[in-house]
């Protein structure tokens, strides 16, 4: 066995590879890579037990830059490859790195099923609302009217909402963050702590083909008013007295939707502001659909309600089905209706009838 005992305390540096990072200068991917490399030592991850699986696209180059096991697969199929990895060795920490095109266009089917099955893994979807690696075509998350080489007159289709898609597919953990946010490591930690498929949409700035498309909420200036950072057990508050008043999210009971309310003198209870409960699936559905503009952007952990994972179920069933049976191949081959040809050819042996291996 290899006796490379890892150092007691790892640092972000330990998770860097010797490969030159090849994203465009200023790409949001750099910040996400740093956030992941900072998070991994803090959660106690082991490089040999960590596997990054990606599809195709700018984001999917990610595994080459993390000093762990990595598999850069084919377009859209990372969740399927990851499912095989995790079923073959459930001890591994599996991270899926994908983009808006990879996860929601060509790989939409796999994204849906990995979430529905609840494979224990972290899915980081870098959403830049554009196809970067193929030079700037509009993506399934691009806003209506996006002009791109393939849509010179503007895109006409309605965008997919990654977090809403994930929740609709049955995800038990849905979170949001953005590339340069200082809170991103906390979101990643929460995703890692969640047992089951943890879906994180990370808004990522493609400075070449879709520059600053998230500036309206991600810009540091005015962030307080435009970002709603959700914390379990805390009221949904944003804004401040300095920027025109503290506001909160309340339930419009008549129309069964969310509304923005003013909070006066800090009395958020009086304003009816909702206390965030990460287990409340109904509210989570409203949060992922909450339109930015009239509302702030909901960020942080929107929903977190664990359920048994897929690989647990598979392994438990495999074990239960195998219990008390010996893997005797010779016996298996000899099951069913058999007969013996011998010197005394007569011997027709009805074998073990009802074995379940009849014709």
């Amino acid at each position: 066995m290899n006796d490379m005992t890892p150092p007691q305390k790892m640092t972000a540096k330990d998770w860097e590879t010797d490969q030159e990072v090849r994203w465009c200068p200023g790409c949001g991917d750099y910040a996400i890579l740093k956030a992941v490399q900072r998070t991994l030592p803090e959660i106690g991850a082991r490089p040999e037990n960590t596997v990054f699986v990606s599809g195709i696209g700018c984001s999917s180059r990610f595994p080459y830059y993390v000093e762990s096991y990595g598999f850069h697969t084919i377009h859209g199929r990372a969740p399927a490859v990851a499912t095989g990895v995790k079923l073959a060795n459930p001890e591994l920490d599996v991270w899926i790195i994908t983009g808006d095109g990879d996860a929601l266009s060509i790989g939409g089917n796999h994204t849906m099923h990995v979430l529905r099955r609840n494979l224990n893994c972290q899915i980081l979807l870098f959403n830049n609302e554009i196809y970067g690696l193929t030079k700037g075509q509009y993506s399934p998350t691009s806003r209506e009217g996006t002009k791109s080489p393939s849509t010179p007159y503007g895109s006409v289709d309605h965008p997919a909402k990654p977090a809403a898609f994930a929740l609709g597919a049955g995800a038990r953990f849905v979170a949001r963050g953005f590339d340069v946010s200082k809170n991103l490591p906390d979101v990643l930690k929460a995703a890692y702590a969640h047992k089951g498929a943890a879906f994180v949409e990370i808004f990522q700035n493609c400075i070449v083909y879709n520059k600053d498309v998230f500036e309206d909420f991600a810009a540091p200036k005015g962030a307080e008013d435009r970002q709603l950072w959700l914390k379990d057990g805390e009221p949904m508050l944003f804004g401040s007295d300095k920027t025109g008043g503290v506001k909160g999210i309340a339930l419009d009971r008549e129309n069964l939707c969310l509304k923005v309310v003013d909070v006066l003198d800090g009395d958020w209870q009086a304003a009816g502001v909702i206390v965030h409960d990460v287990r409340n699936r109904s509210i989570a559905h409203m949060l992922v659909e909450m339109p930015f503009g009239a509302f702030p952007m909901a960020l942080g952990v929107l929903y977190d309600d664990p359920a048994p994972s897929f690989e647990e179920g598979v392994i438990a069933q495999n074990e239960a089905a195998a219990k008390g049976k010996t893997p005797d191949l010779q016996k298996l081959l000899s099951l069913g209706q058999t007969w013996v040809v011998g010197p005394e050819t007569e011997a027709a042996d009805a074998g073990s009838a009802g074995s379940g291996h009849e014709l």
Partner: protein
């Protein structure tokens, strides 16, 4: 070989000549349980010690409209005392459960053959559905055959009356009544069927009893009947047991054989197996079979689509299990890109293709061998991988083991070609001694090479190391992008791509050094004519060559298991014949590969009707070439 005409003439029966083999076809509505009848008849025949081969032929629709021509389901069995390798050409006996079954099958029946028809189903309505203006049982149009018709429906109803079943349920027992009659005709035991019925209907004993009663009634009818318009009595055939090597036998379908072979292969490699599958006709049976074998360290995963099925298998191989996927043509097409990934990342993987008629959806339930090009050439880029083909249900077991061996010993995806005929057909199988197969245990890399980790360094066979995630100190990254020799880092440089392309080609070509030389099945190595086949055409080619040789013709039979790479001696062997004939159920795919590889004048004999070759068709082609 005796024809049915000979068997059935009074002279022949008087002489008590036992035929060498008999072909029986059961045909009925797809809801009539013909596959079940055929399957159980097969079982009884195998237990009687006859050699046999079967050919199930059923419509793609699960329950096609009743009584229609396209809803006819048939099951043919050829059995006898000699070496049986095909499901037989023309049937000697046709059991037709309705007019549509008669209409679609009678033209295949040998002249003088026997028709057994259920008059109860020859109603005006059913005759119309089968496009008969007048009942063929009455208008003399069946003159060249012998017809035994009686109201099987009514006889069945009578026999199950005591069990109080409704009309519909009672009529469902018709297939058992017919089976009982067939068992009597061929002197087969009812015991295994009775045991099977009791087990099948354990929860509904009245249904078991009704079916058994119908079975017995059919059998008794055969024994006591004095029937037929011309006073024909039912002929009873007695076929001697086929001479076979000593040992334990069972019948096996290709699907089970492949499943068990994969389990054996994983055991010999000392690996757990991961099977990623997606339901598709006619490949699903392999998934069903493996799903029951958890105790053998088999994980089966029904994926969301064909691509996820292979991608998950690749993921499992990457994580250190033996990844396997299985499909049929359309599904294999979807897996193409992922196969390229397995080739590029050099991970072991077994891909089973149970071929069916194509292109596109094609003929899901009919057989064809038209995916050979797809297997050998059907991927983007220069993407070589080994291809092997099973010739029969029993042979599929060894082929599956061979696929596992090559995949793990060369770190490569391997395609195993089967087809719908092999998958569904059953044949007697001498149960192999598992310990007679040489193990090929896999050794995972545990420690980096001297001078640092090189995930794409190679051994003398050009195989790269298999490194499981979870192994300390060996972290590395792989992917579908071209990689540098040795280090495996991304590398687009021209010289490196040239070198890596060559390595991938040479590695797969080198598999030829680990496979046996091509042998000649029948006849001499060298001579006037070689009939070269692959896959499930083995049976008809074997019989055709046997017949031709019996007539004194200089013809040999070569059957290729290793389609890619081919055995090292194959070129020289082929060149030792004056002529080469390649019968295939496609438009000439192996023929093209042979011409390309060896510059030989391989001549095609092609059939793409969805039906296996008839012996006579190949025999005629041999005659023609040796004229």
């Amino acid at each position: 070989m005796a024809s049915a005409a000979e068997i059935l003439t009074p002279r022949a029966t008087e002489g008590a000549l036992s035929p060498e083999s008999v072909v029986v076809r059961f045909a009925g509505d797809s809801g009539d349980g013909m596959q079940l009848t055929g399957g159980q008849f097969t079982l009884s025949t195998a237990l009687a010690g006859n050699d046999l081969a079967t050919f199930p032929d059923f419509p793609a629709e699960i329950r096609a409209p009743q009584g229609t021509l396209f809803g006819v389901s048939a099951f043919q069995i050829n059995f006898g005392s000699s070496d049986i390798t095909t499901a037989g050409d023309a049937p000697d006996v046709l059991v037709a459960m309705n007019p549509a079954a008669l209409k679609t099958n009678v033209k295949d029946l040998k002249p003088g053959g026997l028709i057994i028809a259920d008059t109860g189903e020859f109603t005006k309505r059913n005759l119309e559905k089968a496009k008969y203006e007048v009942s063929p049982l009455e208008d003399g149009s069946l003159g060249q055959w012998r017809v035994l018709s009686f109201d099987i429906s009514q006889l069945t109803m009578d026999s199950v009356k005591p069990f109080g079943l409704g009309n519909k349920e009672a009529l469902r027992c018709k297939n058992m009544w017919t089976l009982g009659l067939a068992l009597w005709m061929f002197d087969r035991s009812r015991e295994p069927i009775i045991a099977w019925l009791k087990a099948k209907f354990a929860k509904a004993p009245e249904l078991a009893e009704a079916n058994i009663a119908a079975l017995n009634a059919g059998h008794a009818y055969g024994e006591t009947a004095e029937i037929g318009a011309e006073g024909i009595t039912l002929p009873q055939y007695s076929l001697a047991a086929a001479p076979q090597p000593q040992g334990l036998y069972r019948t096996i379908t290709g699907a089970d054989s492949i499943a068990y072979g994969l389990v054996a292969g994983a055991q010999l490699a000392q690996l757990p197996m991961f099977y990623g599958g997606y339901p598709i006709t006619p490949a699903s049976a392999v998934l069903h079979s493996l799903s029951k074998l958890k105790e053998f360290g088999v994980t089966t995963f029904q994926a969301e689509d064909e691509i996820a099925a292979i991608a998950s298998a690749i993921g499992a191989s990457y994580a250190g299990q033996l990844g396997v996927t299985c499909s049929s043509g359309p599904g294999i097409a979807l897996k193409g890109e992922a196969m390229g990934l397995a080739i590029m990342t050099e991970l072991p993987l077994v891909i089973v293709n149970v071929q069916r008629g194509g292109p596109s959806t094609g003929l899901p339930t009919k057989t064809e061998q038209s995916d050979l090009y797809q297997a050998v050439y059907g991927r983007n880029g220069d993407a070589p991988l080994p291809v092997i083909a099973a010739r029969s249900p029993a042979d599929a077991f060894e082929c599956a083991i061979e696929a596992c061996r090559i995949a793990t010993q060369y770190m490569t995806p391997v395609i195993l070609l089967s087809d719908g005929y092999i998958a569904n057909a059953a044949e007697p199988w001498k149960v192999p001694d598992v310990s007679s197969f040489a193990p090929f245990p896999v050794a995972f890399m545990e420690q980096a090479q001297e001078g640092g980790l090189m995930p794409y360094a190679r051994d003398e066979k050009l195989k790269r190391p298999w490194i499981k995630p979870g192994t300390p100190g060996l972290m590395h990254r792989i992917g579908g992008i071209e990689k540098a020799q040795n280090s495996g880092h991304i590398d687009y440089s021209p010289a490196n791509h040239q070198a890596m392309t060559d390595i991938r080609r040479n590695k797969v070509a080198g598999v030829a050094n680990s496979i046996p030389d091509q042998t000649v099945e029948q006849g001499a190595a060298g001579g006037k004519l070689a009939v070269v086949g692959w896959g499930s055409t083995f049976g008809p080619i074997h019989q055709a060559v046997k017949r031709a040789r019996a007539k004194g013709q200089d013809v040999s039979h070569i059957h290729i298991r290793h389609i890619w790479p081919m055995p090292n001696n194959l070129g020289d062997l082929l060149k030792s014949y004056d002529k080469i004939l390649v019968p295939e159920m496609n438009t000439g795919q192996l023929k093209t590969v042979l011409r390309d590889q060896y510059l030989v004048d391989a001549r095609p004999l092609n059939k793409t009707s969805g039906q296996p070759f008839r012996i006579a068709e190949i025999e005629a082609a041999i005659e023609e070439l040796l004229k």
